[in-house]
Subunit: 145 residues, 2 copies
DNA sequence: GTGGTTGCAAAATATTTGCACACTC
DNA sequence: GAGTGTGCAAATATTTTGCAACCAC
């Protein structure tokens, strides 16, 4: 499945991100590109391992973080490290700093008038919208130009 | 700070949820009610411990889950158990089943025309919206009436 | 008293780190 | 050859579980 075109594309991406295009990195990147869902590191590890039996889980973790840090992929959720409880019972949404992961509340009125979506997959019943505004908080913005 | 009114309110909530109103449970519930942010179980534990030095972290976990299961509080994020990587690079949002935590992609067009919010806290730069539609998937809907 | 609840300690799960060796340029 | 990246094993972080003692009804 590995085409030269794909390899060169990955090569260019790495150059742009300032990282070395290694074999493991290529396979992990390809694997992610071919999956069209929301895999966990363990999921990715299993698939990569079938093509590259000696790869380690640590390498998968390191490269996933690298890919996320350099913008090649995104995380589905910013809060996977630990459970976070919502103690604000008022209708509201969240501002999330992509750097320090701070969560600030945003009054629902500032994001109002947003209807529940149409065209849902069959059988899914929408109950509630959870809206996160991703960005950079004032502190983190000063940290990096 | 513990008023009789508060205690009775908690008592009623417990009755409604079908759980025993214990002392620990009351203090944990009060602590959550008094915090206005997005604490982790460890955060809650530290605060509860200052009022109830013998409480255990396990009890805090058990009760947080109980509160979430019975609807007294919500989790900020459904995906805290493990990192999940977004492999779909098309603009889209997510349908999340609150029961089985399945994540389905939702085409951005089905949630279009939503502007970045105004009235942000000073210094926060909004870059992107992440919208989760919470609900019940077809499978889980059949599981419970 | 009975059954649910707690605290403790141990286990399970998820992720990170230190370091010697290997690979890329 | 210099510096980055990998694999392994150990460490850390987070959450869950088994079980005896305890509390609410």
């Amino acid at each position: 499945m590995t085409s030269t075109v794909q390899f060169e594309h990955f090569d260019a991406l790495c150059k742009e991100a300032g990282i070395t295009p290694t074999h493991q990195r290529l396979v992990i990147w390809q694997t992610l590109t071919e999956m069209h869902d929301h895999p966990s590191p363990e999921d990715v590890y299993r698939r990569v391992k079938s093509e590259l039996p000696t790869v380690s889980l640590a390498t998968v973790y390191k490269n996933i973080h690298l890919f996320v840090d350099t913008g090649l992929f995104r995380e589905v959720s910013m809060f996977h490290g630990t459970l976070r409880i919502e103690t604000n019972s008022e209708p509201h949404h969240h501002l999330v700093c992509r750097k320090c992961k701070a969560i600030l509340d945003l009054d629902a009125d500032d994001l109002s008038g947003f209807p529940l979506p149409q065209h849902l997959p069959e059988g899914f019943v929408a109950e509630q919208l959870s809206i996160d505004v991703l960005g950079l908080c004032a502190t983190c913005r000063q940290g990096k130009p």
